[in-house]
C-alpha cells in the first residue's frame, strides 16, 4: 500500500501560504474551500482505511473524480483496523471505525477532533448520532450508541465528552440495523424470533459470526429470546452472564448445532448460497450478495428488535495543513449524497438521509427508505438485480427499522473476559 508523505504535504502548505499571504487565508475562511490551493490539492492522496463492507473502491473512485485529489481505499478486518491505528497511525488518514472501535482509538490519542463548524451539513445529519434520538424519541442506550461517543471537549482532548460540544471524535458514517439472515426456501417454517438461531430445528444448519464483540450479541439476543437467561443490560453484560452465554454456545457447538462460524463477509455469503446454512448472523450486503446470485435470502425482522451499529470517519492525528483541508472536503463530500445512494443499495443508511434520498430514483427511495413496494426491479450497487417489482424491503421503512433497535454493537467493560471466554468457545 502506498503511504503518502505527511512531510511533503506540510511543505506545500508553507509554500502556498508564502505565495498568497493573508488574502488567501481570508478567502479560505469564507468559502471553506481553499480555491487557490486547488492546484496543490490535486497532489494530495488520502488513505481511507476500514472494513470491507464500507471501504469500497467505487466510493474512492467517485471521490477522486468529484474532489480532484486522490482517495485510496485500504481494507482491513476488525482487529486489523485497531492494530493499524495504534501501531502504524501514519499509514491511515481517514479511519472508518465502528463506534466501539473508537473506544480504543480515542484514548490512545491517534485521532484528532473533527471541528463541527467545518462540516457544512452537520445539522442535516441523523439525530441518532448527533442527538441520541430517533424519530423524536430517545434511541436505545443499551450497548455503545453513537451519541455517547461522538463528542469530545476539544481538538486534542482524546476523551469522550458527556454532552454536545463543538468537536467530534468522528464524522457520522454508514450504519444499519442488523438481524438474522435466512433461506426461506430451506427453513421450512416462519422465523420470527432470535430464539430460532438456537432452535433444534436447525441443528447443523446454523452459523454465528466469529467476531467476539458481535457474535456474543447475537448469542445474547437468542438466549434472551428463548427465555434461557434474562440480561440486566445486553450492552454491558456481567462476567456471570458471559460465562453462562458462552457455556450455552459451547454446548451447542458440541451438539453440532453450528455448521460453521464465519469470520468474513464472503464466508457468510458462501455458507448461505451453498445451502450449508439456512439461518445465521448476517450483514445486510451479504444478503444482497446472495440475492444477486438468484438465491432467495431474507434479512428477517425479528420481534425482539435489531442489533444496531454505526461507523464514524475519524481524522488521524497526523493530518494537518493542506491534507487536513482535503480530509474535511472528503468528509463533506461523503455526506453529500453520492455515497448515501450507493450504500443504500447494499442495505445501509447514510447519516445524511436527505441527500441520500435525493441521490436515489423514486423507485429506489420508496423501496430502501420509505417501505414502499418496488415499482420496478431493484439492483445492487454493482447493477445486478436483487428484488423484483412489487416486493417490499424486509423490515419495512427506515423509520420502522431504526425505531426497533434493541441494542448497539459494543465493546463491553468485560471485553477482556469476553475474549478469553470466546477463545474457549473456539477451542472447544
Amino acid at each position: 500500500m502506498k503511504k503518502t508523505d505527511g512531510l511533503s504535504a506540510k511543505k506545500v502548505t508553507r509554500r502556498g501560504v508564502l505565495k498568497g499571504g493573508a488574502a488567501i487565508a481570508g478567502a479560505t475562511a469564507i468559502t471553506g474551500f481553499p480555491t487557490v490551493w486547488a492546484q496543490n490539492l490535486k497532489d494530495v492522496t488520502l488513505v481511507h482505511t476500514g472494513m470491507s463492507y464500507s471501504t469500497i473502491v467505487d466510493i474512492a473512485r467517485q471521490a477522486s473524480q468529484d474532489l480532484g485529489f486522490k482517495v485510496e481505499m485500504s481494507v482491513v478486518d476488525h482487529p486489523g483496523l485497531i492494530n493499524r491505528m495504534v501501531n502504524d497511525p501514519k499509514s491511515i488518514d481517514i479511519a472508518d471505525m465502528e463506534i466501539w472501535q473508537s473506544k480504543v482509538a480515542v484514548p490512545q490519542g491517534v485521532l484528532q477532533g473533527v471541528e463541527i463548524a467545518k462540516i457544512k451539513n452537520w445539522g442535516q445529519l441523523t439525530p441518532l448520532y448527533t442527538e441520541g434520538t430517533f424519530a423524536g424519541k430517545e434511541a436505545s442506550r443499551e450497548g455503545d450508541s453513537p451519541f455517547e461517543f461522538i463528542y469530545r471537549e476539544n481538538q486534542d482532548s482524546n476523551a469522550f465528552a458527556t454532552g454536545k460540544t463543538e468537536w467530534a471524535n468522528f464524522c457520522p458514517g454508514v450504519y444499519n440495523a442488523d438481524t438474522l439472515g435466512i433461506r426461506p426456501d430451506l427453513t421450512g417454517r416462519e422465523i420470527t424470533s432470535w430464539a430460532d438461531l438456537f432452535s433444534p430445528d436447525f441443528k447443523g444448519k446454523a452459523a454465528i459470526q466469529n467476531i467476539p464483540t458481535n457474535g456474543i450479541m447475537d448469542a445474547m439476543m437468542a438466549m434472551e429470546a428463548a427465555g434461557e437467561l434474562k440480561f440486566g443490560d445486553k450492552g454491558n453484560p456481567t462476567q456471570e452472564e458471559l460465562t453462562k452465554t458462552i457455556a450455552r454456545l459451547i454446548e451447542l457447538k458440541k451438539a453440532k448445532h453450528f455448521r460453521a462460524l464465519w469470520n468474513t463477509f464472503d464466508e457468510s455469503v458462501n455458507l448461505m448460497a451453498a445451502g450449508e446454512v439456512v439461518i445465521q448472523s448476517m450483514w445486510s450486503p451479504a444478503v444482497t450478495a446472495v440475492r444477486t446470485q438468484g438465491i432467495n435470502c431474507v434479512y428477517q425482522p425479528l420481534k425482539e428488535g435489531y442489533r444496531g451499529w454505526g461507523n464514524g470517519l475519524g481524522l488521524m492525528a497526523h493530518l494537518d495543513g493542506l491534507k487536513r483541508d482535503a480530509a474535511y472536503e472528503y468528509l463533506n463530500w461523503y455526506n453529500s449524497g453520492w455515497v448515501g445512494g450507493f450504500i443504500a443499495k447494499q442495505g445501509y443508511y447514510s447519516s445524511n438521509p436527505e441527500t441520500a434520498k435525493a441521490a436515489l430514483t423514486e423507485n429506489e427511495r420508496g423501496f430502501f427508505y420509505e417501505g414502499k413496494a418496488a415499482t420496478a426491479d431493484i439492483t445492487s450497487p454493482t447493477g445486478e438485480k436483487t428484488n423484483s417489482a412489487g416486493e417490499v424491503r424486509d423490515g419495512g421503512s427506515y423509520e420502522e427499522r431504526f425505531s426497533k433497535v434493541a441494542v448497539w454493537n459494543n465493546l463491553m467493560d468485560e471485553a477482556e473476559f469476553l475474549y478469553a471466554k470466546w477463545n474457549e468457545f473456539n477451542a472447544a
Partner: protein, 292 residues
C-alpha cells in the same frame, strides 16, 4: 572452497565473509525475537495496551488456562496426522519417481507435475475444496445420485477431516522434495547388491532405501511440523472456525491488542517447535548427512 584452504586464511577474512549474513540474521531475526521475548513479560491493560513491566502473569495465565492446552493438543493432533499421511505419500511418490521411472527426463517431468498445484495461491487451493466437499458439493451429489447415501455427509466439510485434507494437499510436496533428493543420491548398485544377497523387495526398502533417506525424511518432517504448528488460517477456514490451533490463540489475543499475552504464547510455541526440531536432529545428523 575446501576446508584446508579456509584454515590457511586469517580468521578475520572468515569473519568478514560471514558478516553480511550474520547482520541480516541479527537484524531481522534475533532482534525481533528478542523483542517478542521482552514484550512477553510486559503487562497488559485494557484500552491502554502494553505497559512495560516484569511479570510472569502472561505465562501463568496461559499455563493455567485449559484453553491453551486444548489448542496445543488439537495442533499436535493435526501435526501428527498430517505428518503420517504426508510421509507415506511423499515416500512412495519419491520412490516411484526415483526407482520405477527409468527415464530421467520423464522422472523430472513427473516431479514438476507435483508442483503444479503451487502455481495457484494457497488460499485458492484451500477454498477449492469447498465445492468438492460441501453439502451440495461434488462428492455428496455423486454419492446421493449413485444411491449410496440419502443424506449428505456433513463431516466432509467444516470438520477435522477437511482440515487434514487441506494440510495434506498443501504440504505433501514439502515431504516429496527432500526425500526425492536423498533417494536420487542412492547408488542403485546397492539395491542390486541387496537383491543378490537375498533380500526381498520389501527388505530392500526397509533395510537399504529407508535408512539412506533418513535425512530427506527428517527435513521433510521438519517442514511439515513447522508449517502445521504455525498455521491458523487453514484450520480456521477448513474447519469453518470450529477448530482452533495454538496460533489462533495468538490471533485472538491480537484482536484486542493484548500483545504481552500473544508474545508469551508465541514464545511458548517457538520453544515447542524448537524442541521438536531438536528431537528430529537428534535422530538424524542432518549436517553430517548433507556433506556426505
Amino acid at each position: 572452497m575446501s576446508p584446508s584452504n579456509a584454515a590457511s586464511k586469517s580468521p578475520l577474512t572468515t569473519y568478514l565473509q560471514v558478516a553480511p549474513l550474520m547482520l541480516v540474521l541479527l537484524l531481522f531475526f534475533a532482534v525481533p525475537v528478542a523483542l517478542v521475548v521482552v514484550v512477553s513479560f510486559f503487562r497488559y491493560q485494557m484500552l491502554v495496551g502494553i505497559v512495560p513491566d516484569f511479570t510472569f502473569r502472561n505465562y501463568i495465565d496461559l499455563f493455567s488456562n485449559p484453553t491453551t492446552w486444548t489448542l496445543y493438543l488439537s495442533t499436535v493432533k493435526f501435526t501428527l496426522i498430517t505428518l503420517a499421511i504426508t510421509f507415506v505419500l511423499g515416500f512412495w511418490i519419491a520412490y516411484f519417481l526415483v526407482f520405477h521411472v527409468r527415464s530421467l527426463l520423464i522422472a523430472i517431468g513427473l516431479f514438476l507435475v507435483c508442483t503444479v498445484p503451487f502455481w495457484t495461491s494457497n488460499i485458492i487451493r484451500m477454498i477449492s475444496w469447498r465445492p468438492v466437499l460441501g453439502t451440495e458439493g461434488l462428492i455428496n451429489s455423486a454419492l446421493i445420485k449413485a444411491g449410496v447415501i440419502d443424506q449428505p455427509l456433513q463431516w466432509l466439510l467444516y470438520s477435522d477431516f477437511s482440515v487434514v485434507v487441506a494440510y495434506v494437499h498443501l504440504f505433501t510436496l514439502f515431504m516429496i522434495v527432500p526425500i526425492f533428493n536423498s533417494m536420487a543420491r542412492i547408488d542403485k548398485s546397492l539395491l542390486e547388491a541387496a537383491v543378490d544377497a537375498g533380500a526381498t523387495r520389501w527388505g530392500v526398502v526397509w533395510n537399504v532405501v529407508l535408512p539412506l533417506c533418513k535425512t530427506g525424511i527428517a527435513l521433510g518432517a521438519l517442514f511439515v511440523v513447522t508449517l502445521v504448528m504455525g498455521d491458523f488460517f487453514v484450520v480456521t477456514v477448513m474447519s469453518g472456525g470450529l477448530s482452533g490451533s495454538a496460533t489462533s490463540g495468538i490471533f485472538n489475543d491480537l484482536q484486542f491488542l493484548n500483545y504481552p499475552r500473544a508474545a508469551a504464547n508465541a514464545v511458548i510455541l517457538l520453544i515447542v517447535v524448537l524442541l521438536i526440531a531438536a528431537a528430529i536432529f537428534r535422530l538424524v545428523d542432518v549436517r553430517k548427512e548433507l556433506v556426505r
